[in-house]
Symmetry: C2
Subunit: 338 residues, 2 copies
């Protein structure tokens, strides 16, 4: 069936008034989209960007340039429409959904934020597992159910975004563990650590891997040991999306760590994933290369929130508009090759 869908999409692409293949990566995007949806005929897609917010116990160990309270402050900024992802979502015509997966403050007074809080932040993974098994199931189920719901509602694609002070440390630890690469090869400076902060971050990750490594026998356990509620929820969302045929656009290193976790659980998810961009964090690049995902954009972004994914979604939409709206050689009476 995948072959038939590919054939139909390529046939239409090759009938449009352009030299064959001349839209390059945009033609790949159309093909990816159709295969992920499971159909060669699809409407211009309306997409949604979901920002999963959560706090991290590890933030107490001095691994971020910003204080933990910034997580809740930024969620309020999302609710008020003032953050980068708000601006980009408005401009790209995407719906924005913010989920409190585990922010370390009561946010139930914010009506526009979905309350899916698992706990008030994870545990500090320098002393114990960040997430308990029941918390892991709860967080992943939230993401899984969300994807199913979005597909039922007729959404065309899901852009993953996140917010959480300390979460590049969590993501880098998870990537280091799952790729079996030393932390220094997959850890960056996050939101802007200085040299001392960066050395501290590396030490923390090394300690965490030594502490938890001997007790772990499969990938999901690494998600519990060093992950976060937002990372677990996004991994669940990817698994859900692959079940119902909802295309997913990744953003930065944290969403990519989620994708890596989901992929280790179920390799089939890869067909449903688009790497929106490759950014500043070296762990991001390592995951994309390992999974064989080619990023659409390379703009040196290091903001997260889903910003790179939303920017890439504009190109996906452009590609689909071209697919739907361009005239064919026949319609326009344009001559073919000599």
């Amino acid at each position: 069936e995948r072959k038939e869908i590919s054939r139909e999409i390529l046939c239409r692409l090759n009938s449009l008034t352009k030299p064959q293949g001349s839209l390059g990566r945009l033609e790949d995007l159309v093909l990816w989209y159709g295969l992920a949806c499971g159909q060669s005929l699809f409407p211009d897609p309306g997409g949604v960007v979901c920002v999963f917010a959560s706090d991290h116990g590890i933030a107490m160990s001095g691994v971020s340039a910003f204080p933990q309270v910034v997580t809740v402050e930024m969620v309020k900024n999302f609710a008020n429409g003032g953050a980068a992802v708000n601006v980009l979502a408005r401009q790209a015509g995407l719906e924005l959904m913010v989920l409190d997966m585990g922010v370390n403050a009561d946010l139930s007074f914010l009506p526009s934020v979905v309350n899916a809080k698992v706990a008030y932040g994870t545990q500090n993974f320098l002393t114990q597992r960040a997430i308990s098994p029941s918390e892991m199931v709860q967080a992943m189920k939230t993401g899984f159910d969300l994807s199913v719901k979005l597909k039922v509602q007729g959404k065309g694609f899901l852009v993953l975004g996140e917010m959480g002070i300390g979460n590049t440390t969590s993501a880098s630890a998870l990537i280091s563990a799952l790729l079996e690469l030393p932390p220094v090869l997959v850890t960056g400076r996050g939101t802007g650590l200085d040299d001392r902060g960066y050395r501290k971050k590396l030490e923390v990750i090394e300690q965490a891997l030594s502490l938890h490594g001997p007790t772990i026998s499969f990938p999901l356990e690494w998600g519990m040991a060093v992950g976060g509620f937002e990372i677990a929820a996004m991994a669940g969302a990817i698994l859900g999306a692959s079940t119902v045929g909802l295309p997913v656009i990744l953003d930065g290193v944290i969403t990519s760590a989620s994708a890596l976790l989901a992929w280790r659980i179920c390799p089939r998810v890869k067909h449903f994933l688009l790497a929106g961009h490759v950014g500043h964090e070296i762990g991001h690049k390592a995951v994309l290369e390992h999974m064989g995902l080619t990023p659409v954009l390379d703009l040196d972004l290091r903001l997260g929130e889903g910003t790179g994914g939303v920017l890439a979604s504009q190109l996906l939409k452009s590609a689909i508009c071209l697919f739907h709206q361009m005239a064919t050689f026949e319609e326009a009476s344009v001559s073919g090759k000599i």
Copy 2:
């Protein structure tokens, strides 16, 4: 004055609720835009994409995969709204203008096409100069005046696009001459030449350079010897844009050849140029590297028409929306770095 504008723009960028510099290339785009406009305060820009269409005498020498009649057929396709650039311009909210600079057919019956015809195609540059001095002046003046008019009308930026069977041969010959690089290093397969066609194209360019080289003493003469009316017009448009402060977004190898010609005439134009993408044609990459222009997108496009420039303009618009609409740390009460 440039320093003052830079300072004001960076000051605003650093006040927005994001880690400093975390919007990467998008921050550079805002800075470039403000400097090109000559102001730190500017509205959300409305842009225009201008497609310069023209025919080439060299198309008679078997250098293209498509017959020359495709130029006029595609201009009709532009007029009817069915080409790739039409779809992308609509989606990006850009105005589209199509100029007949020298198509080898009467197009005066198409009211939506600007009649700026210099002649019914250039001469075949294997036997004589493609363009006479008076034709060169006329074509360049058309472009120059257009940029001035667009600026007066309040347009925010100009995306350059082109259509003309044979024009990658003209562009590659011009690039080879101006960069003093052998044709094989700056010549690609255009719209899809096979091996035999590609060898023919290389031979044609080599012959043309040998024929004209001994008679030429400055860059503009190369534009007349092997250029095209659309290339001359775009070089004029770039010179005009740099005079009035209109930011210009380049597309593929042909627009880049125009930029190289304009730059050799007046190096100051560089500040007004954004490389929208780097594409499939090796001459394109060579020009951008030589001029020190970093492309925004890398999508393996090889269509022309301004398509890559329009796609890049979406990112420029995103960057400017972020600059205007994001909340500051103060407005959103978000904490700064520890």
